[in-house]
């Protein structure tokens, strides 16, 4: 029985105006996140995953805009909403984003306790029902939440200014608060990339516990497929602004279909390998989107079919989609796409 | 035989290195060209230099030739900007004013910057030591002395020939360059590329000349550009006080002074004097601003 779809992105494209001309860091992306599910978005730098997150959060820079597509949160399209609407109803309430750099998320001139109280207070105001008038009364609840997450030395941590805490500590606090605000959807953009290995593991384990406890829907963006394999149930692999493969994480990790995913997995170093497969060439120039497959110049499995047209995302096996012409095997597909 | 070959090789090598160094500068020039206000500034500065060099060919009249019948005239077909109190052509005097002023201002800036930067580099490289503290103290002493009084005193002692004027004004400008280059060196000292040069085995002087100096130059060059205008004003001020250029030499400051005296007879003198100085200041300011923007290697031609 399928769970309800919380977030649906349909054919989303983002356009940036730059001095050299327009570029499309996100091109025709469609995704679905169901209730309680964690969707991973994987890709290297420049693939558009962060831009996608910013688009959903309406935090795109002034020279960028969503050119086509819709973002449906519980059925409501967020694209036409104004920033003011987002401020009133969405930010911090229905969508919360945890970004890579915890230092940016906290105001350096206020103590941590004040900022966390403010988060809870703002969140509570958006809920229906009786509201506690005082902001300060949230202190107890905050302590309860953080102690429950195993954060030690609570009074010192809460009384400190952000710069007095380590990155890992800040990230844990922000993650705990984010989950406890019970948003419809939580977006995490590389939350552990800037952290040391053992600290990152602490934060990742915390994510796992919180996901179990809250059944929050989560979009987790990372370049680390191994990390996503621990956290997410399904994964979308992005390249040059497009989704090139999508499916259950376990399937993609063990039986990748798109040549880019295969190449990416082959490039991961490990003790058992003696040589790595690096992908020749560079990421395509986004100011010149082609009508052909974006990956074909660097693809090892290039075939005659790759010179025809850009392939669509096809469901190769149930629940496992790939955007590659080599899966156009049936005659009907061939006639549609003109592949040989 | 052997010597000839070695000389030839040495010259060839030198030539190749020079060629590459020059080729490297093209992106600076290209960026200036792309920037409209910088181009305006560059144009004005170029005009100044051209006036200075080619004055005898450009000026419509002899700046020293008097024409008493036509004194205090406004702009006319003959005298494009009018005449001064002795009937001399104002335009010619402005152009020749460049000839007297421009060599001095460039001399001041180049000399002041050279000495200031040298001292600043020493202070920065040896920061924390006695040498650094001594140099800073020297900078403080020179700069806290009120400029005009310092210059007046020195002029009173040494006279006001062009050379003396240049040396005095350069001396006055040393602390500005010194402090800026010291600050730059202090931060550059900790840059990774300096460590990298050290790791390669570079000696102290090479690190200073090849790495620290070029990266500390941008603010110096910008200051230099601005300074051209500042020194013009100082000379104008001195000439106004009668201490700079002596008549009948045409000088911009002198024109202001005379123009003020004879403002009732003809406002044109003081008007043109002011306009000239304002244009010079704006030009220098725009040019130095353009230099600052173009000296950043972040954006480059191949983008």
């Amino acid at each position: 029985m399928d769970k309800e779809v919380i977030l649906e992105i349909r054919n989303l494209s983002v356009r940036y105006r730059t001095r050299k001309g327009p570029i499309m860091p996100v091109a025709n992306v469609s995704l679905r996140v169901r209730e309680g599910e964690c969707l991973g978005i994987a890709g290297e730098s420049g693939c558009g995953k962060s831009t996608l997150a910013l688009a959903v959060m309406k935090l795109l820079p002034p020279n960028a805009r969503i050119s086509t597509g819709s973002i449906l949160l519980n059925g409501e399209d967020l694209v036409p909403l104004s920033e003011k609407e987002y401020g009133r109803r969405i930010w911090g309430k229905r969508i919360i984003m945890i970004s890579q750099n915890p230092h940016d998320a906290l105001d350096p001139v206020f103590r941590v306790r004040d900022q966390l109280e403010e988060i809870l207070w703002v969140h509570e105001k958006s809920q229906p029902g009786n509201h506690t008038a005082q902001r300060e009364s949230h202190g107890h609840e905050i302590e309860r939440i953080l102690t429950g997450m195993g954060i030690p030395d609570i009074s010192r941590v809460l009384g400190a200014y952000p710069h007095q805490l380590s990155g890992g500590m800040k990230q844990r606090i922000l993650t705990a608060m984010a989950f406890f605000c019970n948003p419809s959807i939580l977006i995490a953009d590389e939350p552990t990339t800037a952290l040391d290995t053992t600290i990152a593991a602490q934060v990742t384990e915390m994510f796992k516990d919180l996901m179990k406890a809250h059944s929050t829907s989560l979009v987790y963006i990372s370049h680390d497929l191994a990390l996503l394999s621990e956290l997410s149930t399904s994964v979308a692999v992005m390249y040059a602004g497009e989704i090139v493969e999508y499916g259950k994480t376990a399937d993609i990790a063990s039986k990748p279909m798109h040549p880019y995913t295969t190449a990416l997995l082959a490039a991961l170093p490990s003790a058992s390998k003696s040589r790595l497969d690096s992908i020749p060439g560079r990421v395509p120039d986004l100011s010149n989107p082609t009508r052909l497959c974006q990956f074909s110049p660097r693809c090892r499995e290039k075939g005659g079919w790759c010179t025809e047209e850009k392939p669509e995302l096809l469901e190769v096996t149930p629940g496992h989609w790939a955007r590659c012409s080599k899966f156009l095997t049936t005659d009907t597909d061939r006639s549609i796409h003109g592949a040989r | 035989m052997g010597y000839g070959n070695t000389l030839q090789n040495a010259l060839k090598n030198l030539g190749l290195r020079a060629f590459h160094k020059i080729r490297k500068q093209k992106w600076v020039i290209a960026k200036i060209v792309r920037n409209p206000s910088a181009m305006v500034g560059a144009f004005i500065v170029a005009l100044m230099i051209i006036s200075a060099v080619f004055a005898p060919w450009i000026a419509p009249h002899d700046p020293l030739k008097t024409d008493i019948e036509h004194r205090f005239e406004g702009p006319s077909a003959h005298y494009l900007l009018g005449t001064d109190e002795l009937g001399r052509d104002t335009l010619a005097r402005i152009i020749y004013g460049a000839r007297t002023t421009v060599p001095i201002i460039f001399g001041v800036v180049v000399l002041g910057a050279a000495i200031g930067v040298l001292l600043g580099i020493l202070a920065g490289y040896y920061s924390g030591t006695f040498l650094d503290k001594l140099l800073l103290w020297i900078f403080d002493v020179i700069s806290t002395f009120p400029g005009i009084i310092l210059v007046l005193a020195l002029v009173a002692i040494f006279g006001s020939s062009d050379l003396v004027l240049t040396l005095i004004l350069a001396f006055w400008r040393i602390p500005s360059y010194g402090r800026i280059s010291r600050t730059e060196i202090l931060s550059i000292k900790n840059e990774t590329y300096v460590k990298a040069a050290e790791a390669l085995g570079a000696r102290r002087w090479r690190i200073i000349l090849s790495h620290m100096l070029p990266n500390s130059l941008p603010p110096i060059i910008v200051l230099g550009g601005m300074d051209l205008g500042v020194v013009v004003m100082s000379i104008a001020g001195l000439s106004y006080l009668g201490l700079g250029m002596q008549p009948p030499k045409p000088s911009w400051g002198g024109m202001l002074s005379i123009g003020y005296t004879y403002i009732r007879q003809s406002p044109w003198l003081i008007i043109w004097g002011c306009v000239t100085l304002v244009i010079i200041m704006i030009g220098c300011s725009l040019f130095s601003g353009g230099l600052r923007a173009s000296l950043k290697p972040e954006e480059s031609l191949s983008e």
């Binding site: 600290i199 384990e205 191994a226 394999s229 560079r282 | 570079a202």
Partner: protein
């Protein structure tokens, strides 16, 4: 004789920086590297791994005389590097080079690639003829996959991976024997990092190089290194041959560290050990075993005296009372 022999290396930094220096009794020091010792055999790749503040980068810089060591010896082919001066130091620098962690920062932004790669040649006057300098540079650049046209470009015109290759080219041009690589793959995409890893392997084979590989990327380390030394708060806690270490994690910190790495294949995952608390300050390191404040196997003696660094197996060294 090993190519590099480090013995009881200590590098302390002044804890208090200010206008006035404190009297001797009150002086505090950051114990960045506190008694580190290891050998690197010729042709070997030894990795130093650890988290921020463990002292691995500082150790690398100390070996290359880029920071002043406080005590200890570093022998390069039998000569004590820490005592070298003048000409012998310059000769050493030709043989031991560094690849820096922050690539763009290590390249002078105002120099062209030509000037950057030619600099080492000029410093050591290896070549007087411009023509031959150019040939040598082109040779090295070609090995890096860069082209002649790249010579005229500035560092900011290159991608992260290419800039890193320029840094490697500069280090190689002198024909060194030892290369200290500080986080060579950090900040790079997986595919780009793979290229660099392959390149470093090829260079090692082709030029008979020896590497001190400093990194926190345990996947890359387990791929490329022959031996691994794990550092914590200025000390080496465990050291062994890579393949052996991965199968036989002994020190509690090493176990926690390796268990923390995300693994793609569920079969390779080990149960995660989450450490309590934070990394202590290097200004006031814990007494006895540095790690005892966060260790779940802590015994009373752990806070009293430091456990000795002992060989407990074939080339497997640990500093922990559990293995006494």
């Amino acid at each position: 004789m090993a190519l590099v022999e480090v013995d009881d290396l200590k590098i302390f930094f002044e804890g208090h920086t200010g206008m006035l220096s404190l009297p001797k009794a009150h002086r505090e020091f950051v114990h960045a590297v506190d008694g580190v010792g290891f050998h690197i055999q010729e042709g070997e790749i030894l990795s130093l791994v650890g988290e921020s503040g463990c002292g691995k980068s500082t150790t690398g810089m100390g070996i290359l005389r880029l920071v002043n060591a406080t005590a200890g010896t570093v022998l390069f082919r039998g000569e004590n590097v820490l005592k070298m001066k003048g000409r012998s130091l310059r000769r050493y620098r030709r043989k031991a080079q560094m690849i820096f962690q922050s690539t763009y920062a290590s390249l002078n932004p105002r120099m062209t690639v030509r000037e950057i790669v030619a600099e080492p040649i000029r410093i050591h006057a290896l070549e007087g003829d411009e023509q031959r300098i150019e040939e040598k540079m082109l040779e090295v650049l070609e090995t890096m996959g860069l082209r002649k046209a790249d010579l005229e470009k500035m560092p900011n015109e290159f991608s992260g991976g290419q800039a890193r290759r320029i840094g490697i080219a500069r280090a190689l041009v002198l024909g060194p024997e030892l290369i200290v690589a500080d986080e060579p793959t950090s900040g790079l995409d997986v595919s780009v990092a793979a290229g660099i890893l392959n390149l470093m392997c090829d260079l090692r084979d082709k030029h008979h190089l020896t590497y001190l590989w400093i990194s926190h990327d345990l996947h890359a380390v387990s791929f490329i290194s022959d031996r691994v030394a794990v550092m914590y708060l200025g000390k080496i806690v465990e050291m062994a041959r890579t393949k052996h270490l991965i199968e036989n994690l002994c020190h509690p910190y090493t176990k926690a560290l390796f268990s923390a790495i995300p693994m793609l294949d569920p079969a390779e995952r080990i149960s995660r050990i989450i450490l309590k608390g934070e990394i202590p300050s290097a200004l006031h390191p814990p007494s006895g075993c540095r790690f005892h404040t966060r260790c779940s196997y802590r015994m009373p003696r752990c806070s009293e005296a430091e456990p000795p660094f002992k060989e407990i197996g074939a080339d497997h060294w640990v500093s922990c009372y559990l293995y006494e």
